[in-house]
């Protein structure tokens, strides 16, 4: 049975989410009003809207939440965050759920973790994003068939000078990599 969302005793999962979300204590104040799901441009595609997710977090439904598609539908538009009457940083909670799902290998039916990893690998290496490298690596390894459909779009970008064939590396890449290595060593919030 789902506990009341403001139950301050909280489940282990609730404590984990609070711990790993900046300003996460606000979750305790959820009124179950549903402004979040109603504001979400992708709410209709979510298995559970944020309101339901908060109740599930409280009920310790960790695996159900982390294997759901909810956080992968989030496009960081922050409508839920600005509209939440209880000031819950909902988009940041979604980021937290993404991190936990990726870390524990629970992300299901989504290429989002692969996209994120491909993107940040390029960042780590060059210090800048490299769109052609990102698109080609991401599609090749995750959705090779879709790559064919992207051809005409890539071509029109290229002919308008909107696509570089070579990556650009920042001058002081060593400094950036030292910062990243330290961050990895200290361990983030998750």
């Amino acid at each position: 049975m789902i506990q009341h969302a403001t139950d301050r005793r909280g489940s282990a999962f609730l404590r984990e989410v609070i711990e790993n979300t900046p300003g996460g204590q606000r979750i305790l104040h959820c009124l179950q009003c549903g402004s979040c799901g109603g504001s979400c441009p992708n709410g209709a595609d979510m298995q559970y809207t944020p309101r339901t997710v908060f109740a599930m977090i409280n009920a310790d439904e960790r695996e159900k939440v982390l294997t759901s598609n909810t956080m992968w539908c989030c496009v960081s538009c922050y409508f839920c965050t600005t509209r939440c009457p209880q000031k819950i940083p909902i988009t940041d909670v979604m980021y937290c759920l993404k991190r936990l799902a990726i870390r524990d290998g629970l992300a299901k039916d989504t290429d989002a973790p692969a996209l994120a990893k491909t993107f940040t690998n390029l960042l780590d290496k060059y210090g800048r994003s490299f769109e052609l490298g990102l698109a080609s690596r991401f599609y090749l390894f995750n959705k090779p068939l879709a790559m064919l459909r992207m051809g005409p779009l890539g071509f029109s970008m290229f002919t308008r000078g909107r696509m570089s064939l070579v990556p650009k590396r920042i001058k002081n890449i060593g400094q950036l990599q030292a910062i990243i290595a330290k961050a990895r060593q200290l361990g983030g919030r998750s």
Binding site: N42, T110, A116, E131, L153
Partner: protein, 298 residues
């Protein structure tokens, strides 16, 4: 007025039209931009999905690189703007987080005092710092007869509503009124373009893009004005894919607000990156405003 300038990766190549028009417009409006030396990528939404401390540390390197004599940083890309602002705020509000980010920066010989740099969006700077009368004074080619749909998207107006109202922002509307354009008031101007969803789920992304194009067309806009590279890419480069998906026939030019602003200030289209958009904008601009200004103007 002097500001540090953080172009962001998109402005280097895929949205070079934004970069050239930002620089050209800024110069005319006496906004002095000093590009941050050796800036790095902000990580978009992708680092925050994996590791918060690394996300913040990568972003904070840019804040730390701002020269001590400058205290404001302009980021024209909505994602960069939000990331820089968010990191500054996270470091300020959570002292332990701030200390850990600084420990990471120290590994690169850097440090950053939260709150030292104020992150701004160029639209905000033009609207608030330059202001109405200075902008009006610079208009040499009023945009009379041109119906523009200002599109704000998400990440400049939310979550921190500092730059404008988070539900129905108005600063770009005001700017284009000063420039003489007819501003279209349409309900979805701060709705989402789908961000990186075009790479993950086309049905989901295309529906969001369709809503924006549909609304702008219903309100009879000649073109859509963007303030973010991702929004411009999604609505412009994916427009034909959206048409194919929904059997629609949208053909709405989507350009950066600085490009059209530059026209009103008398700059030539070639100096503003026109021609890089996939759905051409010049036909409707010439139909409404007449031929491009003579080469002698600016």
């Amino acid at each position: 007025m002097k500001y540090a300038y953080y172009p962001g990766c998109s402005l280097e190549v895929s949205s070079a039209a934004y970069d050239v028009s930002v620089r050209a417009v800024a110069e005319l409006l006496m906004i002095e931009l000093e590009e941050l030396d050796d800036w790095n990528c902000c990580g978009a939404t992708e680092y925050f999905s994996q590791d918060e401390l690394t996300a913040c540390s990568v972003i904070a390197r840019n804040l730390a690189l701002v020269e001590p004599r400058l205290d404001q940083l302009i980021a024209p890309c909505a994602a960069c703007y939000l990331n820089l602002k968010k990191t500054d705020r996270l470091m300020a509000e959570d002292a332990a987080m701030g200390a850990r980010v600084n420990e990471c920066l120290a590994a690169g010989g850097l440090s950053y005092q939260p709150g030292r740099v104020r992150v701004r969006h160029l639209l905000d700077v033009i609207h608030d710092d330059v202001g109405e009368s200075a902008v009006r004074d610079k208009v040499v080619r009023p945009l009379a007869g041109l119906r523009v749909a200002p599109y704000y998207g998400c990440q400049v107006v939310r979550p921190a509503a500092e730059a404008d109202c988070s539900e129905y922002p108005m600063k770009m509307d005001a700017l284009f009124t000063w420039l003489g354009a007819e501003v279209v008031h349409y309900p979805v101007k701060a709705h989402c373009c789908g961000g990186h969803m075009t790479q993950l789920s086309e049905p989901m992304a295309f529906e969001l893009i369709r809503r924006l194009l549909q609304s702008a067309v219903e309100y009879e806009a000649d073109l859509i004005l963007c303030m973010c590279p991702m929004c411009q890419l999604n609505m412009d480069a994916y427009q034909s894919r959206v048409n194919g998906f929904f059997q629609t026939s949208f053909r709405v030019p989507v350009v950066f607000f600085t490009q059209v602003c530059g026209l009103a200030l008398g700059l030539e289209p070639t100096r503003l990156g026109f021609g890089k958009e996939i759905v051409p904008a010049m036909p409707v601009l010439e139909a409404r405003l007449g031929a491009a200004p003579a080469a002698s103007s600016r």
